[in-house]
Protein backbone atom coordinates (compact mmCIF):
# COMPACT_ATOMS: atom_id res chain seq x y z
CA UNK A 1 0.00 0.00 0.00
CA UNK A 2 1.47 3.39 -0.97
CA UNK A 3 1.30 6.56 1.14
CA UNK A 4 -1.95 7.82 -0.46
CA UNK A 5 -3.54 4.41 -0.06
CA UNK A 6 -2.45 4.23 3.54
CA UNK A 7 -3.86 7.67 4.21
CA UNK A 8 -7.23 6.82 2.68
CA UNK A 9 -7.26 3.49 4.55
CA UNK A 10 -6.58 5.25 7.87
CA UNK A 11 -9.29 7.77 7.09
CA UNK A 12 -11.76 5.02 6.23
CA UNK A 13 -11.04 3.10 9.42
CA UNK A 14 -11.27 6.25 11.54
CA UNK A 15 -14.61 7.22 10.03
CA UNK A 16 -16.35 3.90 9.59
CA UNK A 17 -14.89 1.52 12.19
CA UNK A 18 -17.53 2.21 14.84
CA UNK A 19 -20.39 1.47 12.45
CA UNK A 20 -18.60 -1.64 11.18
CA UNK A 21 -17.81 -2.77 14.71
CA UNK A 22 -21.50 -2.58 15.58
CA UNK A 23 -22.32 -5.00 12.80
CA UNK A 24 -19.36 -7.23 13.74
CA UNK A 25 -20.47 -7.37 17.39
CA UNK A 26 -24.05 -8.23 16.36
CA UNK A 27 -22.72 -10.99 14.11
CA UNK A 28 -20.68 -12.31 17.01
CA UNK A 29 -23.77 -12.56 19.17
CA UNK A 30 -22.93 -9.55 21.34
CA UNK A 31 -19.36 -10.65 22.10
CA UNK A 32 -17.33 -7.46 21.84
CA UNK A 33 -13.95 -9.18 21.67
CA UNK A 34 -15.05 -11.65 19.03
CA UNK A 35 -16.53 -8.70 17.10
CA UNK A 36 -13.27 -6.75 17.21
CA UNK A 37 -11.41 -9.84 16.10
CA UNK A 38 -13.80 -10.35 13.19
CA UNK A 39 -13.54 -6.72 12.08
CA UNK A 40 -9.75 -6.66 12.38
CA UNK A 41 -9.43 -9.74 10.17
CA UNK A 42 -11.81 -8.25 7.61
CA UNK A 43 -9.83 -5.00 7.55
CA UNK A 44 -6.55 -6.87 7.07
CA UNK A 45 -8.05 -8.62 4.06
CA UNK A 46 -9.38 -5.33 2.65
CA UNK A 47 -6.03 -3.57 3.21
CA UNK A 48 -4.35 -6.10 0.93
CA UNK A 49 -6.57 -5.08 -1.99
CA UNK A 50 -7.11 -1.47 -1.01
CA UNK A 51 -6.12 0.22 -4.29
CA UNK A 52 -8.47 -2.05 -6.25
CA UNK A 53 -11.56 -1.51 -4.09
CA UNK A 54 -14.16 0.97 -5.33
CA UNK A 55 -16.55 0.72 -2.43
CA UNK A 56 -14.54 -0.07 0.67
CA UNK A 57 -17.50 -0.18 3.04
CA UNK A 58 -19.54 -2.64 0.99
CA UNK A 59 -16.41 -4.70 0.46
CA UNK A 60 -15.55 -4.87 4.17
CA UNK A 61 -19.15 -5.70 5.06
CA UNK A 62 -19.20 -8.53 2.61
CA UNK A 63 -15.99 -9.93 4.12
CA UNK A 64 -17.52 -9.61 7.60
CA UNK A 65 -20.58 -11.60 6.66
CA UNK A 66 -18.85 -14.28 4.66
CA UNK A 67 -16.03 -14.66 7.16
CA UNK A 68 -18.51 -15.10 9.97
CA UNK A 69 -20.45 -17.70 8.06
CA UNK A 70 -17.33 -19.63 7.07
CA UNK A 71 -16.10 -19.48 10.67
CA UNK A 72 -19.25 -21.20 11.59
CA UNK A 73 -18.49 -23.88 9.03
CA UNK A 74 -15.05 -24.45 10.49
CA UNK A 75 -16.02 -24.41 14.12
CA UNK A 76 -19.22 -26.38 14.11
CA UNK A 77 -22.28 -25.45 16.03
CA UNK A 78 -21.70 -26.88 19.48
CA UNK A 79 -19.25 -24.18 20.43
CA UNK A 80 -21.74 -21.46 19.56
CA UNK A 81 -24.28 -22.83 22.00
CA UNK A 82 -21.99 -22.72 25.00
CA UNK A 83 -21.25 -18.98 24.86
CA UNK A 84 -24.12 -17.36 26.72
CA UNK A 85 -26.08 -17.97 29.90
CA UNK A 86 -29.53 -19.50 29.63
CA UNK A 87 -32.33 -16.94 29.54
CA UNK A 88 -33.75 -15.85 32.90
CA UNK A 89 -36.84 -17.97 33.44
CA UNK A 90 -38.28 -15.37 35.86
CA UNK A 91 -39.36 -12.98 33.10
CA UNK A 92 -43.04 -13.32 32.35
CA UNK A 93 -43.98 -12.22 28.86
CA UNK A 94 -47.42 -11.11 29.96
CA UNK A 95 -45.87 -8.44 32.16
CA UNK A 96 -42.86 -8.17 29.92
CA UNK A 97 -44.84 -7.04 26.91
CA UNK A 98 -46.89 -4.63 29.03
CA UNK A 99 -47.30 -1.02 28.07
CA UNK A 100 -45.06 0.40 30.79
CA UNK A 101 -41.91 0.03 28.69
CA UNK A 102 -39.84 -1.60 31.44
CA UNK A 103 -41.28 -5.01 30.55
CA UNK A 104 -40.52 -4.46 26.89
CA UNK A 105 -36.90 -3.79 27.78
CA UNK A 106 -36.75 -7.07 29.70
CA UNK A 107 -38.19 -8.88 26.73
CA UNK A 108 -35.46 -7.39 24.55
CA UNK A 109 -32.87 -8.69 27.00
CA UNK A 110 -34.36 -12.16 26.71
CA UNK A 111 -34.24 -11.73 22.94
CA UNK A 112 -30.63 -10.57 23.01
CA UNK A 113 -29.70 -13.64 24.96
CA UNK A 114 -31.58 -15.89 22.59
CA UNK A 115 -29.86 -14.23 19.60
CA UNK A 116 -26.44 -14.97 21.06
CA UNK A 117 -27.35 -18.67 21.15
CA UNK A 118 -28.22 -18.94 17.47
CA UNK A 119 -25.69 -20.30 15.00
CA UNK A 120 -23.52 -17.74 13.23
CA UNK A 121 -25.34 -18.28 9.94
CA UNK A 122 -28.77 -17.85 11.51
CA UNK A 123 -27.63 -14.69 13.23
CA UNK A 124 -26.00 -13.34 10.06
CA UNK A 125 -29.28 -13.74 8.18
CA UNK A 126 -31.28 -12.00 10.92
CA UNK A 127 -28.76 -9.15 11.15
CA UNK A 128 -28.92 -8.63 7.38
CA UNK A 129 -32.69 -8.86 7.22
CA UNK A 130 -33.69 -6.92 10.33
CA UNK A 131 -30.74 -4.71 11.24
CA UNK A 132 -29.49 -3.78 7.76
CA UNK A 133 -33.06 -4.04 6.40
CA UNK A 134 -31.85 -5.69 3.20
CA UNK A 135 -34.20 -7.49 0.80
CA UNK A 136 -33.83 -11.28 0.54
CA UNK A 137 -32.09 -11.09 -2.84
CA UNK A 138 -29.33 -8.84 -1.46
CA UNK A 139 -28.86 -11.09 1.56
CA UNK A 140 -28.48 -14.07 -0.76
CA UNK A 141 -25.89 -12.23 -2.84
CA UNK A 142 -23.90 -11.16 0.22
CA UNK A 143 -23.84 -14.61 1.76
CA UNK A 144 -23.36 -16.39 -1.54
CA UNK A 145 -26.44 -18.60 -1.28
CA UNK A 146 -29.89 -18.81 -2.88
CA UNK A 147 -32.93 -16.70 -2.00
CA UNK A 148 -34.72 -19.89 -0.92
CA UNK A 149 -31.94 -20.60 1.58
CA UNK A 150 -32.24 -17.07 2.99
CA UNK A 151 -35.98 -17.50 3.34
CA UNK A 152 -35.80 -20.86 5.05
CA UNK A 153 -32.92 -19.80 7.32
CA UNK A 154 -34.90 -16.70 8.38
CA UNK A 155 -37.92 -18.85 9.15
CA UNK A 156 -35.87 -21.42 11.09
CA UNK A 157 -33.97 -18.73 12.98
CA UNK A 158 -37.19 -17.08 14.15
CA UNK A 159 -38.57 -20.48 15.12
CA UNK A 160 -35.37 -21.26 17.00
CA UNK A 161 -35.67 -17.94 18.88
CA UNK A 162 -39.14 -18.95 20.02
CA UNK A 163 -37.79 -22.24 21.30
CA UNK A 164 -34.87 -20.56 23.09
CA UNK A 165 -37.16 -17.91 24.59
CA UNK A 166 -40.65 -19.37 25.10
CA UNK A 167 -41.77 -15.98 26.47
CA UNK A 168 -41.86 -14.71 22.87
CA UNK A 169 -44.68 -17.07 21.91
CA UNK A 170 -47.02 -15.02 24.12
CA UNK A 171 -46.52 -11.87 22.10
CA UNK A 172 -49.77 -10.43 20.79
CA UNK A 173 -50.17 -11.46 17.14
CA UNK A 174 -52.95 -8.94 16.46
CA UNK A 175 -50.38 -6.14 16.26
CA UNK A 176 -48.60 -7.89 13.40
CA UNK A 177 -48.32 -5.69 10.31
CA UNK A 178 -48.49 -8.58 7.86
CA UNK A 179 -50.99 -11.02 9.31
CA UNK A 180 -51.89 -12.54 5.96
CA UNK A 181 -48.30 -13.63 5.38
CA UNK A 182 -47.73 -15.08 8.82
CA UNK A 183 -50.72 -17.01 10.14
CA UNK A 184 -50.66 -16.65 13.93
CA UNK A 185 -51.34 -20.33 14.46
CA UNK A 186 -48.03 -21.24 12.81
CA UNK A 187 -45.96 -18.25 13.63
CA UNK A 188 -46.58 -17.76 17.29
CA UNK A 189 -46.63 -21.25 18.69
CA UNK A 190 -43.31 -22.82 19.70
CA UNK A 191 -41.97 -24.74 16.72
CA UNK A 192 -40.15 -27.96 17.26
CA UNK A 193 -36.72 -27.86 15.68
CA UNK A 194 -34.50 -30.89 15.46
CA UNK A 195 -30.94 -30.32 16.67
Amino acid sequence: MDATGQESFLEFVTNRSTALLRTAVLLSGGDRHAGEDLLQNALIKAAGRWHRIDEPEAYVRQILYRQQVSRWRLKGRRKELTVADPPDPGVDARTASGADGTGAAELRLVMRDALSRLTARQRAVLVLRYFEDLPEADVARLLGCSVGTVRSTTHRSLARLRVLAPELSLLDPSDDEKPEQQPPSRDFAPVEVRP
Binding site: L10, F12, S17, T18, L26, R112, Y130, L168, L171, D175
Partner: protein, 410 residues
Protein backbone atom coordinates in the same frame (compact mmCIF):
# COMPACT_ATOMS: atom_id res chain seq x y z
CA UNK B 1 -45.08 -6.12 18.71
CA UNK B 2 -44.25 -9.40 16.96
CA UNK B 3 -41.09 -11.48 17.03
CA UNK B 4 -39.58 -9.83 13.95
CA UNK B 5 -40.06 -6.37 15.37
CA UNK B 6 -38.59 -7.50 18.64
CA UNK B 7 -35.55 -8.92 16.80
CA UNK B 8 -35.17 -5.60 15.04
CA UNK B 9 -35.52 -3.55 18.23
CA UNK B 10 -33.18 -5.84 20.08
CA UNK B 11 -30.48 -5.68 17.39
CA UNK B 12 -30.76 -1.89 17.18
CA UNK B 13 -30.52 -1.56 20.95
CA UNK B 14 -27.52 -3.84 21.06
CA UNK B 15 -25.82 -1.92 18.23
CA UNK B 16 -26.47 1.41 19.92
CA UNK B 17 -24.92 0.05 23.11
CA UNK B 18 -21.67 -0.96 21.37
CA UNK B 19 -18.85 1.34 22.38
CA UNK B 20 -16.80 3.11 19.73
CA UNK B 21 -14.05 1.19 17.96
CA UNK B 22 -10.58 1.31 19.52
CA UNK B 23 -8.66 4.39 18.40
CA UNK B 24 -5.62 2.38 17.32
CA UNK B 25 -7.58 -0.13 15.22
CA UNK B 26 -6.11 1.06 11.89
CA UNK B 27 -2.58 0.84 13.33
CA UNK B 28 -3.24 -2.65 14.63
CA UNK B 29 -4.54 -3.76 11.25
CA UNK B 30 -1.54 -2.40 9.37
CA UNK B 31 0.92 -3.97 11.83
CA UNK B 32 -0.82 -7.34 11.63
CA UNK B 33 -0.81 -7.09 7.84
CA UNK B 34 2.92 -6.35 7.75
CA UNK B 35 3.58 -9.44 9.85
CA UNK B 36 1.49 -11.61 7.57
CA UNK B 37 3.20 -10.20 4.50
CA UNK B 38 6.64 -10.92 5.95
CA UNK B 39 5.73 -14.60 5.88
CA UNK B 40 5.13 -14.37 2.16
CA UNK B 41 8.32 -12.44 1.39
CA UNK B 42 9.89 -15.15 -0.73
CA UNK B 43 6.86 -15.23 -3.03
CA UNK B 44 6.77 -11.44 -3.21
CA UNK B 45 10.42 -11.25 -4.36
CA UNK B 46 9.56 -13.20 -7.50
CA UNK B 47 6.67 -10.85 -8.22
CA UNK B 48 8.92 -7.81 -7.81
CA UNK B 49 11.30 -9.12 -10.47
CA UNK B 50 8.36 -9.53 -12.83
CA UNK B 51 7.09 -6.00 -12.17
CA UNK B 52 10.52 -4.45 -12.67
CA UNK B 53 10.90 -6.31 -15.96
CA UNK B 54 7.54 -5.02 -17.12
CA UNK B 55 8.42 -1.45 -16.17
CA UNK B 56 11.69 -1.59 -18.09
CA UNK B 57 10.00 -3.07 -21.13
CA UNK B 58 7.44 -0.30 -21.34
CA UNK B 59 8.64 3.10 -20.07
CA UNK B 60 5.73 4.87 -21.80
CA UNK B 61 3.28 3.18 -19.47
CA UNK B 62 4.20 5.57 -16.68
CA UNK B 63 2.87 8.57 -18.53
CA UNK B 64 -0.47 7.14 -19.46
CA UNK B 65 -3.54 8.11 -17.44
CA UNK B 66 -2.09 11.38 -16.19
CA UNK B 67 -4.44 14.18 -15.20
CA UNK B 68 -3.36 16.40 -18.11
CA UNK B 69 -6.33 15.16 -20.19
CA UNK B 70 -8.63 17.99 -21.19
CA UNK B 71 -12.14 17.88 -19.75
CA UNK B 72 -14.80 16.90 -22.29
CA UNK B 73 -16.94 19.83 -21.12
CA UNK B 74 -14.02 22.24 -21.70
CA UNK B 75 -13.10 20.91 -25.13
CA UNK B 76 -16.53 21.92 -26.39
CA UNK B 77 -16.57 25.33 -24.68
CA UNK B 78 -18.71 27.85 -26.53
CA UNK B 79 -20.38 25.18 -28.65
CA UNK B 80 -24.03 24.19 -28.39
CA UNK B 81 -24.28 20.43 -28.13
CA UNK B 82 -27.70 18.86 -28.58
CA UNK B 83 -28.85 15.25 -28.76
CA UNK B 84 -32.52 15.34 -29.64
CA UNK B 85 -32.72 11.58 -30.08
CA UNK B 86 -31.44 10.77 -26.60
CA UNK B 87 -33.64 10.34 -23.53
CA UNK B 88 -32.07 9.80 -21.10
CA UNK B 89 -29.01 11.51 -22.60
CA UNK B 90 -25.93 9.50 -23.52
CA UNK B 91 -23.65 12.25 -24.87
CA UNK B 92 -22.78 15.67 -23.47
CA UNK B 93 -25.49 18.33 -23.76
CA UNK B 94 -24.23 21.89 -23.33
CA UNK B 95 -25.21 25.48 -24.14
CA UNK B 96 -23.37 28.71 -23.36
CA UNK B 97 -21.94 28.59 -19.85
CA UNK B 98 -23.93 25.57 -18.80
CA UNK B 99 -23.67 21.86 -19.39
CA UNK B 100 -25.72 18.90 -18.27
CA UNK B 101 -23.24 17.53 -15.73
CA UNK B 102 -25.29 14.56 -14.57
CA UNK B 103 -28.81 13.30 -14.21
CA UNK B 104 -30.59 10.87 -11.94
CA UNK B 105 -33.52 8.51 -12.02
CA UNK B 106 -35.47 7.53 -8.91
CA UNK B 107 -37.30 4.46 -7.74
CA UNK B 108 -39.11 3.55 -4.56
CA UNK B 109 -37.34 0.68 -2.83
CA UNK B 110 -39.72 -1.21 -0.56
CA UNK B 111 -38.31 -2.23 2.78
CA UNK B 112 -39.22 -5.43 4.66
CA UNK B 113 -41.28 -3.40 7.15
CA UNK B 114 -43.16 -1.72 4.25
CA UNK B 115 -41.33 1.57 4.60
CA UNK B 116 -40.08 2.92 1.28
CA UNK B 117 -36.85 4.65 0.36
CA UNK B 118 -36.82 6.84 -2.73
CA UNK B 119 -33.48 5.74 -4.16
CA UNK B 120 -31.61 7.65 -6.83
CA UNK B 121 -29.30 6.31 -9.49
CA UNK B 122 -26.95 8.94 -10.86
CA UNK B 123 -25.45 9.03 -14.31
CA UNK B 124 -22.46 11.33 -14.42
CA UNK B 125 -20.54 12.87 -17.30
CA UNK B 126 -17.33 10.95 -17.90
CA UNK B 127 -14.94 13.85 -18.51
CA UNK B 128 -12.66 11.65 -20.62
CA UNK B 129 -15.25 10.38 -23.09
CA UNK B 130 -17.96 13.07 -22.86
CA UNK B 131 -20.60 10.41 -22.23
CA UNK B 132 -22.91 9.88 -19.28
CA UNK B 133 -22.10 6.76 -17.27
CA UNK B 134 -24.10 5.23 -14.44
CA UNK B 135 -22.34 5.57 -11.09
CA UNK B 136 -24.50 3.61 -8.67
CA UNK B 137 -22.26 4.17 -5.67
CA UNK B 138 -23.94 7.34 -4.48
CA UNK B 139 -27.13 8.16 -2.66
CA UNK B 140 -26.64 11.85 -3.45
CA UNK B 141 -24.40 13.69 -5.88
CA UNK B 142 -23.87 17.29 -6.89
CA UNK B 143 -21.37 18.69 -9.40
CA UNK B 144 -19.05 21.63 -8.71
CA UNK B 145 -18.85 24.62 -11.06
CA UNK B 146 -16.12 23.85 -13.60
CA UNK B 147 -17.24 20.21 -13.69
CA UNK B 148 -13.93 18.83 -12.56
CA UNK B 149 -15.25 17.42 -9.28
CA UNK B 150 -18.49 16.36 -7.64
CA UNK B 151 -19.50 16.03 -4.00
CA UNK B 152 -20.96 12.62 -3.17
CA UNK B 153 -22.75 10.94 -0.29
CA UNK B 154 -22.58 7.19 0.17
CA UNK B 155 -25.62 4.93 0.27
CA UNK B 156 -27.62 4.68 3.50
CA UNK B 157 -28.20 8.29 4.37
CA UNK B 158 -27.55 10.20 6.52
CA UNK B 159 -23.76 9.86 6.38
CA UNK B 160 -20.91 11.40 8.35
CA UNK B 161 -18.54 12.19 5.52
CA UNK B 162 -18.67 13.84 2.11
CA UNK B 163 -16.65 12.48 -0.78
CA UNK B 164 -14.88 14.64 -3.36
CA UNK B 165 -15.18 12.73 -6.64
CA UNK B 166 -12.79 13.38 -9.52
CA UNK B 167 -14.84 13.32 -12.74
CA UNK B 168 -11.81 12.41 -14.86
CA UNK B 169 -10.73 9.37 -12.86
CA UNK B 170 -14.12 8.62 -11.24
CA UNK B 171 -12.26 8.09 -7.97
CA UNK B 172 -12.90 9.76 -4.65
CA UNK B 173 -9.83 11.85 -4.04
CA UNK B 174 -10.73 12.97 -0.55
CA UNK B 175 -13.26 12.32 2.20
CA UNK B 176 -14.37 15.26 4.28
CA UNK B 177 -15.31 13.99 7.76
CA UNK B 178 -18.27 15.80 9.29
CA UNK B 179 -17.89 16.34 13.01
CA UNK B 180 -19.73 18.21 15.71
CA UNK B 181 -23.22 17.84 14.26
CA UNK B 182 -26.49 16.15 15.14
CA UNK B 183 -27.32 13.27 12.77
CA UNK B 184 -25.57 13.12 9.41
CA UNK B 185 -25.52 14.67 5.97
CA UNK B 186 -28.40 13.92 3.56
CA UNK B 187 -27.96 16.56 0.84
CA UNK B 188 -25.17 18.84 -0.40
CA UNK B 189 -24.82 21.77 -2.78
CA UNK B 190 -21.83 23.80 -3.95
CA UNK B 191 -21.66 27.56 -3.58
CA UNK B 192 -21.52 29.43 -6.94
CA UNK B 193 -17.71 29.81 -6.62
CA UNK B 194 -17.34 26.10 -5.78
CA UNK B 195 -15.34 26.86 -2.63
CA UNK B 196 -18.01 26.00 -0.09
CA UNK B 197 -20.62 23.32 0.36
CA UNK B 198 -23.89 23.57 2.20
CA UNK B 199 -24.66 20.20 3.78
CA UNK B 200 -28.18 19.70 5.13
CA UNK B 201 -28.17 17.34 8.11
CA UNK B 202 -30.86 14.92 9.25
CA UNK B 203 -31.38 12.39 12.01
CA UNK B 204 -33.04 9.94 9.58
CA UNK B 205 -32.82 9.13 5.89
CA UNK B 206 -34.63 12.11 4.29
CA UNK B 207 -35.69 9.90 1.37
CA UNK B 208 -37.44 7.35 3.60
CA UNK B 209 -41.21 7.22 4.09
CA UNK B 210 -42.69 5.34 7.02
CA UNK B 211 -45.42 2.75 6.91
CA UNK B 212 -46.21 3.55 10.55
CA UNK B 213 -47.21 7.06 9.38
CA UNK B 214 -49.23 5.84 6.40
CA UNK B 215 -52.26 7.71 5.13
CA UNK B 216 -55.05 6.58 2.83
CA UNK B 217 -54.49 7.63 -0.78
CA UNK B 218 -57.28 6.86 -3.24
CA UNK B 219 -58.02 3.16 -2.63
CA UNK B 220 -54.72 2.31 -1.03
CA UNK B 221 -52.40 3.45 1.73
CA UNK B 222 -49.07 5.17 1.30
CA UNK B 223 -46.19 5.58 3.75
CA UNK B 224 -45.37 9.17 4.66
CA UNK B 225 -42.20 11.08 5.50
CA UNK B 226 -41.37 12.47 8.92
CA UNK B 227 -39.63 15.73 9.71
CA UNK B 228 -36.00 14.82 10.25
CA UNK B 229 -33.83 17.86 9.48
CA UNK B 230 -31.46 18.75 12.30
CA UNK B 231 -29.60 21.67 10.70
CA UNK B 232 -26.92 22.48 8.19
CA UNK B 233 -23.17 22.81 7.92
CA UNK B 234 -21.15 25.15 5.77
CA UNK B 235 -18.08 23.24 4.63
CA UNK B 236 -14.85 24.74 3.31
CA UNK B 237 -14.03 22.36 0.44
CA UNK B 238 -10.30 23.17 0.47
CA UNK B 239 -9.62 22.70 4.20
CA UNK B 240 -12.52 20.37 5.03
CA UNK B 241 -13.45 22.54 7.99
CA UNK B 242 -17.14 22.80 8.71
CA UNK B 243 -19.40 24.89 10.85
CA UNK B 244 -22.71 23.30 11.89
CA UNK B 245 -25.88 25.11 12.97
CA UNK B 246 -29.09 23.59 14.29
CA UNK B 247 -32.15 24.29 12.10
CA UNK B 248 -35.00 21.79 12.52
CA UNK B 249 -37.57 21.30 9.76
CA UNK B 250 -39.83 24.27 9.11
CA UNK B 251 -43.07 24.05 11.03
CA UNK B 252 -46.18 25.92 10.13
CA UNK B 253 -46.77 28.12 13.20
CA UNK B 254 -50.52 27.53 13.00
CA UNK B 255 -50.98 23.96 11.83
CA UNK B 256 -47.75 22.26 12.88
CA UNK B 257 -45.51 20.43 10.45
CA UNK B 258 -46.09 20.97 6.76
CA UNK B 259 -44.78 18.19 4.54
CA UNK B 260 -44.82 20.30 1.43
CA UNK B 261 -41.75 22.22 2.57
CA UNK B 262 -38.50 21.05 1.05
CA UNK B 263 -36.22 20.09 3.87
CA UNK B 264 -32.97 20.55 2.04
CA UNK B 265 -31.25 23.91 2.12
CA UNK B 266 -29.52 25.71 -0.74
CA UNK B 267 -27.30 28.71 -1.20
CA UNK B 268 -28.81 31.91 -2.50
CA UNK B 269 -27.64 33.49 -5.76
CA UNK B 270 -24.16 34.59 -4.61
CA UNK B 271 -23.58 32.00 -1.89
CA UNK B 272 -23.67 34.50 0.98
CA UNK B 273 -27.04 33.35 2.38
CA UNK B 274 -29.03 30.18 2.90
CA UNK B 275 -32.29 29.72 0.96
CA UNK B 276 -34.91 27.68 2.80
CA UNK B 277 -38.04 26.71 0.87
CA UNK B 278 -41.33 26.80 2.82
CA UNK B 279 -44.79 26.01 1.50
CA UNK B 280 -46.47 29.14 2.75
CA UNK B 281 -46.10 32.76 1.71
CA UNK B 282 -43.63 34.12 0.82
CA UNK B 283 -42.37 30.65 -0.17
CA UNK B 284 -38.89 30.92 1.30
CA UNK B 285 -36.84 32.22 4.19
CA UNK B 286 -33.39 33.73 3.70
CA UNK B 287 -30.91 33.05 6.48
CA UNK B 288 -27.34 34.08 7.11
CA UNK B 289 -24.70 31.33 7.15
CA UNK B 290 -25.28 30.85 10.87
CA UNK B 291 -29.00 30.19 10.36
CA UNK B 292 -30.42 33.52 11.52
CA UNK B 293 -33.36 34.79 9.48
CA UNK B 294 -32.55 37.90 7.43
CA UNK B 295 -34.56 40.04 4.97
CA UNK B 296 -34.48 38.98 1.32
CA UNK B 297 -31.70 40.65 -0.70
CA UNK B 298 -33.32 43.36 -2.95
CA UNK B 299 -32.55 41.46 -6.19
CA UNK B 300 -33.80 38.11 -4.84
CA UNK B 301 -37.20 39.08 -3.43
CA UNK B 302 -38.96 37.36 -6.31
CA UNK B 303 -36.64 34.37 -6.73
CA UNK B 304 -38.48 31.07 -6.36
CA UNK B 305 -36.00 28.23 -6.74
CA UNK B 306 -38.75 25.60 -6.57
CA UNK B 307 -41.04 26.92 -9.29
CA UNK B 308 -38.20 28.32 -11.41
CA UNK B 309 -34.81 26.83 -10.45
CA UNK B 310 -32.98 29.19 -12.84
CA UNK B 311 -33.31 32.09 -10.35
CA UNK B 312 -31.50 35.37 -11.01
CA UNK B 313 -29.87 35.92 -14.42
CA UNK B 314 -26.02 36.11 -14.50
CA UNK B 315 -26.10 39.93 -14.87
CA UNK B 316 -28.76 40.23 -12.17
CA UNK B 317 -31.23 42.08 -14.42
CA UNK B 318 -33.97 39.44 -14.63
CA UNK B 319 -35.51 36.75 -12.46
CA UNK B 320 -36.90 33.49 -13.84
CA UNK B 321 -40.62 33.28 -13.12
CA UNK B 322 -43.05 30.37 -12.80
CA UNK B 323 -45.29 28.66 -15.36
CA UNK B 324 -47.34 31.28 -17.18
CA UNK B 325 -49.25 29.15 -19.68
CA UNK B 326 -52.88 28.12 -19.87
CA UNK B 327 -54.79 24.87 -19.78
CA UNK B 328 -53.61 23.82 -23.26
CA UNK B 329 -50.52 25.92 -23.81
CA UNK B 330 -47.15 26.21 -22.14
CA UNK B 331 -45.38 29.47 -21.40
CA UNK B 332 -43.07 30.95 -18.81
CA UNK B 333 -42.08 34.45 -17.89
CA UNK B 334 -39.10 36.42 -16.67
CA UNK B 335 -39.60 39.12 -14.06
CA UNK B 336 -38.12 42.44 -13.07
CA UNK B 337 -36.15 41.64 -9.88
CA UNK B 338 -37.15 44.92 -8.22
CA UNK B 339 -40.90 44.86 -8.80
CA UNK B 340 -41.68 41.21 -9.56
CA UNK B 341 -43.64 42.34 -12.64
CA UNK B 342 -43.39 40.44 -15.92
CA UNK B 343 -40.54 41.66 -18.14
CA UNK B 344 -41.19 39.15 -20.93
CA UNK B 345 -43.27 36.13 -21.72
CA UNK B 346 -41.36 33.12 -23.00
CA UNK B 347 -41.79 29.64 -24.37
CA UNK B 348 -41.16 26.67 -22.07
CA UNK B 349 -42.75 24.94 -19.13
CA UNK B 350 -40.18 25.32 -16.34
CA UNK B 351 -37.08 27.52 -16.41
CA UNK B 352 -34.16 25.38 -15.23
CA UNK B 353 -30.96 27.37 -15.68
CA UNK B 354 -29.61 30.49 -17.41
CA UNK B 355 -27.29 29.63 -20.34
CA UNK B 356 -26.31 33.32 -20.50
CA UNK B 357 -28.06 36.67 -19.90
CA UNK B 358 -30.51 36.18 -22.79
CA UNK B 359 -31.03 32.42 -23.03
CA UNK B 360 -32.43 29.81 -20.69
CA UNK B 361 -32.54 26.02 -20.61
CA UNK B 362 -36.06 24.84 -19.84
CA UNK B 363 -38.39 21.87 -19.93
CA UNK B 364 -41.04 22.07 -22.61
CA UNK B 365 -43.58 19.69 -24.05
CA UNK B 366 -42.52 17.99 -27.26
CA UNK B 367 -44.67 19.07 -30.23
CA UNK B 368 -47.94 17.14 -30.04
CA UNK B 369 -46.97 15.68 -26.64
CA UNK B 370 -48.79 15.65 -23.33
CA UNK B 371 -48.05 17.28 -19.97
CA UNK B 372 -45.19 14.99 -18.90
CA UNK B 373 -43.88 14.33 -22.39
CA UNK B 374 -41.20 16.98 -22.04
CA UNK B 375 -37.68 17.55 -23.34
CA UNK B 376 -34.90 20.01 -22.62
CA UNK B 377 -35.04 23.10 -24.80
CA UNK B 378 -33.14 26.33 -25.24
CA UNK B 379 -35.30 29.45 -25.29
CA UNK B 380 -34.27 33.01 -26.02
CA UNK B 381 -35.75 36.19 -24.57
CA UNK B 382 -37.41 38.23 -27.33
CA UNK B 383 -37.63 35.28 -29.72
CA UNK B 384 -40.13 32.52 -30.38
CA UNK B 385 -37.41 30.14 -31.46
CA UNK B 386 -37.15 26.93 -29.45
CA UNK B 387 -34.12 24.66 -29.87
CA UNK B 388 -34.52 21.09 -28.65
CA UNK B 389 -31.57 19.86 -26.60
CA UNK B 390 -32.63 16.33 -25.64
CA UNK B 391 -35.18 13.66 -26.47
CA UNK B 392 -38.53 13.66 -24.67
CA UNK B 393 -38.89 11.94 -21.32
CA UNK B 394 -41.30 9.05 -20.84
CA UNK B 395 -44.85 10.31 -20.73
CA UNK B 396 -45.67 9.06 -17.21
CA UNK B 397 -44.77 11.20 -14.23
CA UNK B 398 -42.51 9.24 -11.84
CA UNK B 399 -42.24 6.31 -14.24
CA UNK B 400 -38.96 4.40 -14.08
CA UNK B 401 -36.25 5.90 -16.22
CA UNK B 402 -37.69 9.40 -16.00
CA UNK B 403 -34.60 11.50 -15.51
CA UNK B 404 -33.93 14.76 -13.68
CA UNK B 405 -31.07 16.95 -14.96
CA UNK B 406 -28.21 18.40 -12.90
CA UNK B 407 -26.55 21.39 -14.54
CA UNK B 408 -23.18 22.94 -13.78
CA UNK B 409 -21.07 25.80 -15.13
CA UNK B 410 -18.51 24.39 -17.54
Amino acid sequence: MNVEELVRASLREQAAGTATAPADLAGRVLTARRRRRARHLAGAAVTTVLVVTAALAGPGVLNSGEASTQLASEASRGKTLTHVDQSPPRDLIAVGDQALAAYFTSRQVKQPNRDQIMTRTYSVLDQKTGRYEVDARWAYLTVAPGMRTAAVLERQLPVTRIGVLDLLTKKVTRWIPMKGLDGGVGAVQFSPDGKKLIATTYDKDPFRTYWSKRIPVNNTEEPQPVACRTGFAIVDVETGESDWHALPAFTDPEYGRSFGSGEWLRFNNDGTLVYEFINMAPGRIFRDLRGKEVPAPPKEKHVNLVMAPAGLSPNGELVAGPFAGGARTTATEVLDPATGKRAAKLKGQELLVWADDKRLIAWDIAPGGKEFDNRLVLITIGSDKVVSLSGARTPQDNSPGRWEPIFARR
